[in-house]
């Protein structure tokens, strides 16, 4: 059955907290049921943590906003139990093409190698993404969602946060041990605490039109600089599900944002791109100005800012929702451990350190792309035009063309949670990096490595045989153990361990060994968010214990 996620309305329901004599206390309240708040709530619930999610609205994302969701985000959603639906519904793509005037300049493949379950990107309307997250959240008994519940005031003390919540039936108060502010770019909570997000606005305006049509463009990202149908400006085209296409027209700073939104202005622009004979319908039109900005810190005592409330980027590179989801997965396991008393409160400082650094990386990339697309002075424009002109026959210039450097997850290389390497390793899986996928053979047949990592700390151990699995012994936290052996080496076949034992996977194509630069004995410790925090050439229980303590903030 097709659900019209845009038409869904969620009822306000009165709850017992509204009649309580003293404000009810919740371990964690998440404000904002956008992609980031929903992901945070689901991740916390999967850790067994009870969560209250408040949203001021009664509907999912209005109109179309984010459409491009990156491989890493899909992997996070796989772990959260709703990635498959997104990939099924979404339009999968790996290729981008850049045109200058009439001519193709170059193409790029964002996932040039095989052996990964997820593609570089899927395109999916934000309301589907939120709808699928919501369906998942509603299946988890730990999550309570209250719609039409607007947080209007926030006060923080040493032992908790007090919130004032406005509903159709008036206000009430709540207490929280921790508050996650996933309340979007205008973040009323940020304002209520007297905090700011600062950065730069680009002097440009973009018309974003979602158009319903039958078209035979391929499922690729197409970007034009100065095309004949939209002179002196850029245009970006993306395919979405349901026969909808996203077209971004650059308009320049002097464009009139009200007039440009009118169909009599928009339709001729679309027609110029498609030609006179292609029938289409406007699905949604909006005019945007973009900024890159962030809060100085994402943690303020017991209030943690995540997603657009904490940082903002221009959409070139699709780094908004994608990075917000990475905030969510970074925060959730830490918060769950702290609330359970299994880690000190200072572990939450590492959320701030890791995600501020990630935001800077995203802002840097997004700013560079936007500076290329929207030159800020005469010289920027001259170098942009020179780069595009040279790109036709000079390979080096193609590498300089910047129509958006698309979202990649950050590696927390400088994180205090990492145990530095004591032995030599090659490749990408440095401490702080998100784990790479690889095809494996599991008990149920062909499978993917990432499906066996995360949610808890995981020991990933490589061996030539299944005879001597690592025995983590007595550790302060439950740790999953996964043993990867060569094809055919799992005596009795690959199997999934019952808790406390070891899952044995066969390295179907030898890619796990390659990607993890593994030899027999190589052991990785992965965090619940699948980031590497330590690795060794042999399994040593004492080293594992020390690394686990470091990764949970119990030792520096």
């Amino acid at each position: 059955m097709q659900v019209d996620y845009q038409a869904l309305r969620f009822d306000y329901r009165r709850c017992a907290d509204q009649s309580a004599a003293v404000p009810a206390r919740h371990p964690v309240i998440v404000v904002g049921a956008g992609p980031v708040g929903l992901a945070t709530a689901i991740d916390l619930a999967q850790q067994g943590q009870r969560v209250l999610l408040l949203d001021d609205d009664e509907a999912l994302s209005h109109g179309s906003r984010a459409i491009c969701f990156a491989k890493r985000t899909l992997e996070v959603f796989d772990r959260l139990g709703c990635g498959e639906r997104m990939v099924e519904k979404g339009v999968t793509w790996n290729l981008g093409r850049v045109f200058h005037r009439e001519e193709p300049v170059y193409g790029f493949n964002l996932l040039p190698e095989g052996g990964h379950q997820r593609p570089a990107f899927v395109n999916l309307q934000q309301y589907y993404l939120e709808g699928f997250l919501l369906d998942r959240a509603q299946a988890l008994p730990e999550i309570e969602i209250r719609w039409r519940s607007r947080v209007t005031a926030v006060a923080q003390a040493d032992d908790g946060v007090t919130l004032t919540v406005e509903t159709p039936e008036g206000e009430y108060r709540l207490l929280a041990d921790y508050l996650v502010a996933a309340d979007g770019s205008r973040s009323p909570i940020r304002r209520a605490l007297g905090l700011e997000s600062r950065g730069r606005t680009f002097r440009d305006r973009f018309l974003i039109a979602d158009v319903r049509m039958e078209a035979d463009f391929p499922a690729e990202r197409w970007f034009w600089f100065d095309p004949p149908f939209h002179r002196n400006q850029s245009v970006l085209l993306h395919q979405q599900p349901d026969g909808v296409w996203r077209i971004d027209f650059q308009l320049g700073w002097d464009a009139d944002p009200v007039a440009e939104r009118q169909p009599d202005k928009v339709i001729p622009r679309v027609r110029a791109l498609l030609g006179p004979d292609v029938p289409f319908e406007l699905e949604w039109v909006s005019i945007y100005t973009f900024s890159c900005l962030r809060m100085e810190r994402f943690r303020h005592g017991r209030v943690l800012f995540a997603g657009d409330s904490a940082h903002g980027v221009s959409p070139f590179g699709a780094r908004g929702a994608n990075s917000g989801v990475q905030d969510a997965e970074n925060l959730a396991w830490k918060l769950a451990l702290v609330l359970r008393g299994a880690a000190p409160d200072s572990l939450l400082d590492s959320y701030d350190a890791e995600r501020v650094a990630a935001a800077d990386e995203n802002i840097l990339n997004s700013t560079r792309s936007t500076d290329f697309i929207t030159p800020k002075n005469e010289a920027s424009r001259a170098f942009r035009d020179a780069t595009l002109a040279l790109a036709r026959d000079c390979a080096f210039a193609r590498r300089l063309v910047n129509s958006g450097r698309l979202s990649l997850p950050s590696t927390y290389a400088a994180s205090p949670l990492n145990t530095p390497d004591a032995e030599a390793f090659a490749g990408a899986m440095v401490p702080g990096a998100p784990a790479l996928d690889a095809p494996v053979r599991a008990a149920g047949g062909a499978d993917w490595l990432l499906r066996y990592l995360g949610n808890a700390f995981t020991l990933l151990h490589f061996s030539d045989d299944a005879a001597s699995p690592p025995a983590p012994g007595d550790l302060p936290l439950p740790v999953r153990a996964v043993l990867v052996v060569p094809p055919g080496a799992a005596a009795g076949g690959p199997h999934e361990g019952v808790p406390g034992t070891v899952t044995v996977l066969e390295d179907a194509d030898g890619l796990a060994r390659q990607r993890y630069d593994a030899r027999p004995g190589t052991t990785y410790l992965l965090r619940p968010d699948q980031h590497v925090c330590a690795r060794w050439r042999r399994f040593d229980p004492a080293a594992v214990r020390a690394a686990l303590e470091r990764a949970t903030g119990k030792r520096a």
Binding site: S185, R203, L293, N377
Partner: protein, 75 residues
């Protein structure tokens, strides 16, 4: 290390050739030619340290008299 000692065998020939590529061009056309030239030479040099020193040398002593179109964002 950026070499600022004489390194071009026939300096007058080089200078003449540099002017020749701008002959009969409007300022905007010249700007494009220069920009292409800078990109080509930069890629040829490749060494980021040399490029950084050359950029710093080129910018030395110039006091900005203009203003980029940058707006502060606060939210």
């Amino acid at each position: 290390m950026l070499n600022t000692e004489p390194n071009i065998a026939a300096p007058d020939d080089f200078y003449e050739a540099l002017l020749a590529i701008h002959q009969d061009l409007l300022p905007a056309q010249s700007r494009l030619v220069d920009a292409k030239l800078i990109l080509l030479l930069s890629n040829h040099i490749g060494d980021p340290e040399v490029l950084r020193q050359a950029m710093a040398k080129a910018r030395e002593g110039i006091v900005p008299a203009g203003q980029d179109a940058i707006l502060a964002a606060r939210a």
